[in-house]
Symmetry: C2
Subunit: 334 residues, 2 copies
């Protein structure tokens, strides 16, 4: 940690659909909730300077450029050396911040974090981990998009890194690590899945075998490993299903006058449910495997997601996430 | 069709979690709903003979063997020449039935259908198509499990075959065919997805580009193409999410005494919603690309799913599905 008592997170004030407003609002909420949190707000002078003025535990760091949401990630990182994303990652690299959070261009955040912070020794591919609400305990799904094409040894590392995250951030002592597949038996699935099974069974502590798509929302494992293509499809499908089914549910409830009254009675319970399904609760997905904490937010995030991301970031720093990832790789013999 | 007016579907009386009861019940319902449907019930003598006795439009066909749900598919097909699955597929091959439906071992059904009915000329890989409920019109997703590893040319064929299904069974005149990917832009995704995009844009009529996971339940396309690994994960994840979220709704609604009363008022609307989300409505997934109609049911199917499968089967036969698949492959230049 940057100081004996405070955790410092560098926060990108730009990017996403509603920046900088939701970012600033989220930072205020996070600082109020955690007296040991400090924020370095990175972005255009007119945004960050006035915000930091007179505020405790906020430092303004001016970045003169912004990476657009649709810009090519690696091109943008190479050409815009003074973007809020590049500056934020540099703060972590230089040890001035303990972590970086952005809800901007996620490809650029990944590229900048990997380039500037470097990888944990032995890591073949950093991976994005999403924490999903399930019928049981939250589940860490990875990779959800950093690596569209993977090899078996990548998946085995994802298992170890995901377990390190579950231990240090979610407080799961002995995480059950599963492989996402299309059948329960070891010999099922793609060549990748079959080979990954053998490797994971051999090497990954807590490996419990294959799980299928339907097991994800059921909470069948603490960590579920897959390639970044399948994981990204699964993550977005879960978001889409939640939205679709809540919409259908609303329509079903307001179908008649009588049911409208009943729906009004049920509203508090249903708001609780919406909150439970809301991805905002976890706020951001860490890029595991880089030698620093990088948190990637959803472009459509609201202030609550920003606050959650900062809370998760502080927990990750205090839980020694990066060190745990390094240790887990060591155990894997990678 | 086997006769000027009747459609004949061979039905496996065995397999699945609740056979033969749900099968027999489903057959009765389907025959009552469609006076131009005829069933050849395949299975053990004691099951099929007594059922057929005195019943119109039902013929008993004895099969002395049964493929277990956990048996190795191709081994079972090779060793059990007189299984209900093998006999049913043979009835189609010999032109005695227009199609075959089984909710037994799906791998064995696939293997037997491919082996005995053969492939439509030019088809590289038969694929399983699932019809999914969405916020809009139903969506055909394929492949959902026949081919865990695919090449770009397979995906292009899946697009053409899925469009043939949407036209002949769902009545969609000009189906919008999309590629499941992890971004909207052509250059996104795995190597497979990138190459498939180029091929599909070039060759597949009605190709509308990439869709993402969240677009599936939104009803963004009539046909969505992916490899059998991703498709199987997506299909099972949708089932799991429906089950999980309906369970959460129920819990939210019965949280207090007052909400219990409100929930009772809402019950009819919610049952309607459950029915809408129920995969039973579509009943079975066709194996597209074989030179005959093969319908694969869910092992956990109820009688309603069996009846739906037979209804869908009759529509497919009357719509000339197999012929349309052959034509679509021709248009593709495959």
């Amino acid at each position: 940690m940057t100081s004996a008592s405070l955790v410092t997170i560098a926060v990108d004030s730009m990017g996403g659909d509603h920046a900088p407003d939701v970012v600033l609002e989220g930072v205020i909420a996070a600082l109020a909730a955690d007296p040991a949190l400090r924020v370095m707000l990175v972005g255009p002078a007119d945004v960050v300077t006035s915000f930091a003025e007179g505020r405790e535990r906020v430092e303004a760091v001016v970045a003169t450029e912004v990476v657009g949401m649709d810009e090519h990630a690696t091109v943008a990182v190479r050409s815009k050396k003074d973007s809020s994303i590049a500056v934020g990652c540099r703060l972590v690299k230089e040890g001035r911040a303990d972590g970086f959070f952005s809800l901007g261009n996620s490809g650029a955040t990944m590229a900048a974090a990997t380039l500037m912070m470097g990888r944990v020794p032995g890591v073949l591919r950093p991976a994005i981990a999403a924490v999903l609400p399930t019928a049981g305990a939250p589940c860490v799904l990875l990779d959800v998009g950093a690596n569209a094409d993977c090899k078996p040894e990548h998946l085995a590392q994802f298992g170890a890194m995901g377990a390190a995250y579950a231990r240090s951030v979610l407080g799961v002592e002995s995480p059950r690590v599963a492989l996402l597949n299309i059948g329960e038996e070891p010999a099922k699935g793609s060549v990748l899945a079959q080979e990954a099974y053998v490797l994971m069974q051999d090497r990954v502590p807590g490996f419990v075998g294959n799980v299928e798509g339907r097991d994800i929302p059921a909470g069948a494992a603490d960590v579920i490993v897959t390639d970044g293509f399948t994981g990204n499809v699964a993550l977005k499908l879960m978001e889409g299903m939640s939205r679709h089914l809540l919409g259908e549910f609303k329509r079903a409830m307001t179908a008649s006058a009588v049911s409208k009254v009943a729906a009004a009675v049920l509203k508090p319970s249903l708001n609780g449910l919406r909150d439970k399904l809301d991805p905002d609760v976890h706020g951001a997905a860490p890029l595991l495997g880089v030698a620093g904490l990088a948190l990637i937010g959803h472009g459509s995030s609201g202030a609550r997601a920003v606050a959650s991301a900062l809370r998760v970031g502080a927990v990750a720093v205090r839980g020694g996430l990066v060190q745990r990832v390094a240790e887990s790789l060591g155990e894997l013999g990678a």
